[in-house]
Symmetry: C2
Subunit: 149 residues, 2 copies
Amino acid sequence: MDKTLYICNIFYYSMISGKFAITIHILTLLTKFPNDFLSSEFIAGSMNLNPVLVRKEIANLKAHHIVESKEGKNGGTKLLKEASDITLKEIFELTFDNINLGYAKNQPNPDCPVGKKVNQNLSELYADINEKVGLQLKKITLEDFSSQF
Amino acid sequence: MDKTLYICNIFYYSMISGKFAITIHILTLLTKFPNDFLSSEFIAGSMNLNPVLVRKEIANLKAHHIVESKEGKNGGTKLLKEASDITLKEIFELTFDNINLGYAKNQPNPDCPVGKKVNQNLSELYADINEKVGLQLKKITLEDFSSQF
DNA sequence: CTAAACTGTAACATTTTTTATTACTAATTA
DNA sequence: TAATTAGTAATAAAAAATGTTACAGTTTAG
């Protein structure tokens, strides 16, 4: 079968809300074994998670050139960069759009002065929060985080 | 019917993930009309939300002595405190346990050194984030937020 | 003193999101 | 060339969030 048929329609992929935690876990394992290609099965075993979900997160990491992976027997995934050159801010950004404290699901009433502006005002508040969190996460490298284990 | 039968078993209530946004919206409206009892119907109209959900959030605000409400005809809800005496930190705390970037759903493998400690290490990271966000939200009062409208 | 307009909240239904599974193609290596 | 591994589609299942209905109890206006 033609490989192009396999091209992923990204919109069919659901988000994974434990994305950040899962991605950190994967990267911590890769940091502990920087010279080995770790299989999704092995990684999934540490997380008690389905290997397919691990591979989805790895696909994301690959798209951001954080890891490389090798198909076939003895294949797996390894870091492309030094753990000391990866910050938690990068990992955060590749697993989250932004930190936010949520929006109401429905479009508020545009005829109400509050309804009309509430989402914009919340966005601005959240942008500030996001910036502060980003500054903090930028100071922590994957190496820092992994060395706690 | 005996009123005690109406006692709410909190565990049967689902969380509302737009809780913070909804609560802020409610409080902003109450701030705009500090002398009136606003009905859940009116508030829900500004949010395009079911009045029952508004009443659920109001129940939470009442439990924290932020608002009072009056049953019966011409009833509704009003602020118990000045908007300048309510910080966004308080609102955050009453709608969120903590800010966090998520945990994987399943218990990780306790036989893996990483699996064994990952949630604890994430918790510590999240606690730091939470503290920073809290400091920021403490500086903003409901009055500050509402005056943007 | 009664009808209307509210809140409170239970119970349940629906929708949306997240997570898990299965299945199969393709690649790699021993 | 068989075994092992990634890639990813498709679908199923589970969990979480949101919405609805219903009705008891409260208050007030008239």
